[in-house]
Each structure stands twice: as C-alpha cells, then as structure tokens.
C-alpha cells in the first residue's frame, strides 16, 4: 500500500498541486495600450518559475496581477484555490498569502528594520508583538541583517534593504513569493547577496515567481523559464532547453541580446 503510494507521488515539482492558475489574462492600460494579450500560466507548489523578456513585454505587469496590484479586464486568475475576483475581501485574503519583493525595495522609511518586518504580522495576522518580534529576528538572522534591526532603512545599503524587504514578505509566511526584478536597482557588487538569499529560499522549497535578467540564477535554480514578449507568452521550457536550445526565433533574438 505505502509502496504503491510513494511510486505514484510525482517526482517533478511540475506535476504538484497548482498554486497560481492564470487563464487568458488580458489587460489594457488606461491609455488603451493592450499590454497583456491573453496570457496563461500555471505555477506549481514548490517550484521556481523565472519570467524573462525585453522591457515593455508586460512581464512585471503580469506578475503584479497575481496579487491584484494591477487590475485586468479579461480572463481569470486563481491563487491558492481562491478566484481573484474584484472583491476586496478576496483580494486581501490573497495578498496575505502572496509575498512580493519590488525592484525599488519599497521599505517603509519611517520605521526601523524590525518594525518594517513586524508591521504586517502584528496588524494583519494579529500576532502578539513578542511573537512577531521573535519571528522577525529569526528571519533577519536568516538574511544576515540581524545586527541592523534597530536601524532605519535609509542607513542600509541597497543589498541590505532588499534583504530586509525579503524578510518583511516572509514574515507573513506566504505560500508564494513574487520577485519583480529584485536585483535590477542594485549596484553590481550587491546583486550576489540578494541572489544568495533567494537561492536559499528556493532550496527550502518556497514557491517563487521571479521576473529577472539573472541568467545564472535562472539556470541554477529555476524549474521552468518562460519568455514574454509583446504581451504574450512566447516560450516555456526547462532552463537547460531554454538557454541551450531555444525553439522560437524571438527567444533566440532575446538570448543573443542578453548573453
């Protein structure tokens, strides 16, 4: 019996249970620009999905629809089994389960590092302050910022700020983490410390969707890499196939530009 079960358990993460299911998502900006032209994508539990694409391809906009930071006009998105309807209650429930890391860090400059991390657990999860601080200190230790806990974000380097931002998102114990170009605003020597944290997260089994241009990171960590261009999903493949044997002309062209 048990023998039978273990054999049927899928080896690859790709066939695990879906966490985000986006179907034919279409979006127009207010000025009429058709930015997403029917994008479908499924993110499975425990996998790392890397989204690449030239600027203006709609990749950031697409992952920002996953936690309703961007509204969309057609299609459907389901996160953790909850349909992301335009209902405020649902949206807030989904945002609690989906962490997001921004290109510009977006730390709260008027709060200390520790307060940044404990804010949402205290006010949204209603944890007692002591518990929130304990969890926060553990997370800050994991991202290597423990000794800066009482400082303000403005006193930290960009890499440190981004690591605090990751800890801040993790404090809500999300089921998925979205990374919107997390290293694009960093000085080159700070990219690595942020990628290291992300790599550790991935090996611990966090479900991650990353918009990034870091090819090394994608090759090493990603389960799948997708290319978006002009508001559509062009190609989706394993990192090996994606980088070594791209099928589409647009993928080849994009890779020739960044590699």
């Amino acid at each position: 019996m048990t023998q039978f079960q273990t054999e049927t358990v899928p080896v690859s993460n790709n066939t695990g249970e879906p966490v985000i299911v986006a179907t034919d998502v279409e979006k127009w900006y207010d000025n009429g620009f058709h930015v997403l032209k029917g994008v479908s994508m499924t993110v499975y539990k425990g996998e790392v999905l890397v989204v690449m694409g030239p600027s203006g391809s709609g990749k950031s906009t697409f992952i920002r629809t996953f936690n309703a930071l961007e509204p969309y006009q057609k299609g459907s998105i389901e996160v953790d089994g909850i349909e992301l309807a335009h209902d405020l209650k649902n949206i807030e429930a989904i945002r609690r389960e989906v962490g997001m890391v921004f290109q510009q860090f977006n730390l709260f400059p008027h709060l200390t590092v520790l307060q940044n991390v404990t804010l949402a657990p205290i006010w949204v999860r209603h944890w007692p302050k002591a518990k929130a601080q304990e969890v926060a200190m553990q997370l800050l230790e994991r991202v290597g910022i423990l000794e800066q806990a009482q400082k303000f974000p403005g006193q930290l380097s960009g890499g440190q700020q981004q690591r605090v931002a990751i800890a801040r998102s993790l404090a809500m114990q999300p089921k998925v983490m979205l990374f919107d170009e997390p290293t694009s605003a960093l000085d080159p020597e700070m990219v690595r410390e942020v990628l290291d944290v992300m790599r550790t997260l991935a090996t611990e089994g966090m479900t991650m969707v990353c918009v990034t241009h870091e090819v090394g990171f994608a090759r090493e960590v990603a389960a799948r890499v997708v290319l978006m261009d002009g508001g559509v999903l062009v190609e989706e493949n394993t990192p090996e196939a994606f980088f070594n044997d791209p099928q589409e002309d647009r993928t080849k062209k994009f890779l020739s530009q960044i590699l």
């Binding site: 936690n67 930071l69 405020l88 807030e92 945002r95 609690r96 989906v98 962490g99 997001m100 921004f102 510009q104 977006n106 730390l107 709260f108 400059p109 008027h110 804010l119 949402a120 006010w123 949204v124 303000f152 403005g154 006193q155 931002a165 801040r168 998102s169 809500m172």
Partner: protein, 405 residues
C-alpha cells in the same frame, strides 16, 4: 611624500576662521563699491536704530501698558476671578515642563548653559520689565513650575518611558479644564463669553481652531484623493469654495448671517461661531498642504503595504499619513501660524481678543494717541507665540528625521 595608509585616521581639512579685522576686510570692505555699500547701509540702519531708541526712552509713554495689563491679558474678565486664569497658566506651565522633560530625557543635561541663560533672561525680564512687575512673584512661580516639572518629567521619562503617550491625553484633558476654568459652571461662577478677551481669548481661539482644523484638513485631503467620486467631488467643492472666499467674509457670515437663520436660543455662542469660522477656513488650506504631503509619498509605499495584506485604512494610518504629514510639517505649521494671526480679524467683528481689546484701550481718552506703544507691545506678543511655534516645528522635524543618524 608618504601616502596615507588605510588605518590612519583621516580628518576633514580644518575650516579657517578669520579674526575680526580680516573678516571685515574680506566680507565688507573688499573693494571700493562694497566699502561704500557697507558705510551707507550702516548709516541708514544706525539712524533708524537711534530713532527707535530715542523714541522708546523719551517720547513713548509706556505707562499705557502696565496700567492695562489685566485688559491686555484677559479683556473684561472679572478681576476677582483672575485666580482662575493664574491657575490655568500654572497647569499649562506644569504640562509644558513635563512634556519638555520627557521629550528631552535622553539629553545628557536638561539645564544646559543655553537653557539656564534663557531662564535667567525670562526671570530678569519679569522682575525688571515694568508692565509685569506687579505680577512678578506669580510669574517667577510659573518659571519655577516649568523647571521643576521638566526635571520631574525627565525622571519619569527615564524610569517609565511608556508613560510618554499619556502626556497627549493630559493636554487633551487640560483643554477642557481650561474651558471650565475660563467659562465657569460646575461650582465656579459663570463668566459670559462677552467678558472673555485679551491674550487668553486669542490663545483659546487659536488652540481650538488648530486642534479642530487639523483632523478636518486631513480628512478633506484624503477625500480629495479618494476613488469614490461623491467623496472626491464634495471635498474638491468644499476646498475650492472656501479658498475662494476671504476669511473676513466667512467671519462676518458667522457673526451676522447665521443668527438670522437660526431662532433665538439656538444661536451658537459668538466665540464658538468665531472658532467654527476660523476652523472651516483653515481646514481648506490645510487640506491642500496635507495633499502635497500625500503626493510626496511614492506609490510603491502603498503597493508594498497592500502586498503585505494591509487594507486601505491601515495602509493610510500606518504607512502613508506618517510620511505625508512629516513632509508637510513646515507647511502645516505655517498654516497654524497664519490661523493664529488671523484671530486678529475677529476684532473687526467685535470680539475683544488681543487686538480688539487694544483698540478699546486706545479709545480711552487717558491713552489717546498711544498707538505706537500699544501696537508695538502686542506685536511683540504675537511674534513671541509665532516664533515659538516655528521653533517647535523645527524640533519636531529633527526628531522625526530618520534619513541618517
């Protein structure tokens, strides 16, 4: 030359300070034109200062100030009830001292040299300045209360820092105690608002107006940015309507027109009407200052708050407003200062606040023509309170600065 090794401590180059004569030569007499300018400007300033001093010591008849000190301070308030005003001043001094002590609890010395000099100047002023001489024992007592409470506040702040937030509550309660002490009732002899006046009335109206217009202004600013069309357009309409009408017209409407609409007995008190007029007027301007602050908060802040699951009210109160108000402090305090000065317009609609009571003093035949003395005196009073607000706002900005420390 040896190059500095990494472990040697490098110091910033010393800024040279010039002695007086070279400084004068460099800054004021560097060429013939600057020298000429210096001489001419010094002559004009000197002449003006000389004129002021001569006027102040020979022509001016300062007796109008001490003889009417009670009027300046409290208007027609019954003199046998003055103790209530003194008690109020005592409470305010105690709270001010307490707040100062608690805010400054982390400074190494509370009574630094500058503070001691300030105390000495104030005390000397109370003893030597003729207008305050009759009350100087009481005024010196107030200074002693401030100093003692500051010391106590520092002690409390250090042993129990959590008590700091109760100070705000104490100030809030003290406002109602102030109204009770001034107006009477509940065991105290009632004093009609017609007898309220002078500096006490000015301060009371200014404090009430500031305390009321702040929340209304913030609400209007948020309303103007709201995504709900009705809320948005009502806020815009209110702000633009009020900003299009001069304050004096609003005050006249409050004093003259509202009583026409409402039946006798339901008419709000005239001081209350004045405060309402001031509040509604300032709230519209304050809303625009707060809106500027709100616009300075990057969109990413709200997105980050939303992505953490914070709902809109939480995101506004915890993330957006603290940053917006911090940015807007200089503009907001500027609006408070102008509200304080706008209380003078109430003399035109017949309230005996500081300017109003001064005008009635000047109408007294014994003090005919003493305009310069009286107006200079109240000008100094107005300047004192406005400058205090300005200093306070700068201190708050320094306290809230988290960019680098």
């Amino acid at each position: 030359m040896t190059t500095a090794t990494p472990d040697t401590v490098s110091t910033a180059p010393e800024v040279k300070r010039l002695a007086i004569v070279p400084w004068l030569h460099k800054n004021l007499f560097s060429n013939w034109f600057n020298s000429l300018l210096t001489v001419v400007v010094t002559a004009i300033l000197g002449y003006a200062a000389y004129g002021m001093v001569v006027w102040g010591f020979t022509v001016a008849q300062w007796v109008v100030i001490p003889n009417n000190m009670g009027l300046f301070m409290t208007g027609l308030y019954p003199s046998d009830q003055y103790w209530r005003i003194w008690l109020l001043l005592g409470i305010v001094s105690a709270l001010a001292g307490l707040s100062w002590g608690m805010l400054a609890r982390n400074l190494p010395t509370l009574f630094s040299r500058n503070v001691l000099i300030g105390f000495a100047v104030v005390c000397a002023g109370f003893v030597l300045f003729p207008p305050t001489r009759p009350s100087s024992p009481k005024l010196l007592l107030m200074v002693a209360i401030v100093a003692a409470m500051a010391w106590a506040g520092r002690f409390i702040g250090r042993s129990k820092p959590g008590l700091g937030k109760w100070i705000t509550l104490l100030w809030f309660i003290s406002y109602f105690i102030a109204i009770w002490l001034i107006g009477g009732g509940l065991g105290l002899a009632g004093v009609s608002t017609n007898d309220w006046g002078g500096l006490v009335l000015t301060l009371l109206m200014a404090v009430s107006g500031i305390a009321l217009c702040f929340p209304i202004g913030v609400a209007l600013a948020l309303g103007r940015r709201s995504s709900l069309p009705v809320v948005k357009w009502l806020s815009v309409a209110y702000i633009e309507l009020i900003r299009g009408v001069p304050l004096i017209a609003i005050l006249f409407m409050g004093q003259v027109m509202i009583p026409l609409f409402l039946p006798e007995g339901m008419r709000p008190d005239r001081v209350l009407r004045a405060v309402i007029g001031l509040t509604f007027f300032s709230a519209a301007y304050l809303a625009e200052n707060v809106r500027a602050g709100l616009q300075s908060v990057p969109r990413g802040q709200q997105e980050a708050a939303a992505s953490l699951g914070l709902n809109t009210p939480l995101s506004l109160t915890l993330i957006v407003l603290p940053q917006a108000l911090k940015t807007a402090i200089p503009a907001i305090v500027g609006q408070f200062i102008s509200l304080f000065q706008d209380t003078t317009l109430l003399s035109i609609v017949g309230l005996a606040e500081l300017l109003g009571i001064s005008r009635s003093i000047l109408a007294n035949p014994s003090y005919l023509g003493r305009y310069a003395e009286v107006y200079l005196f109240i000008g100094v009073l107005y300047w004192f309170f406005c400058y205090a607000m300005s200093l306070g706002s700068r201190r708050i900005e320094e306290l809230l600065n988290t960019d680098h420390r």
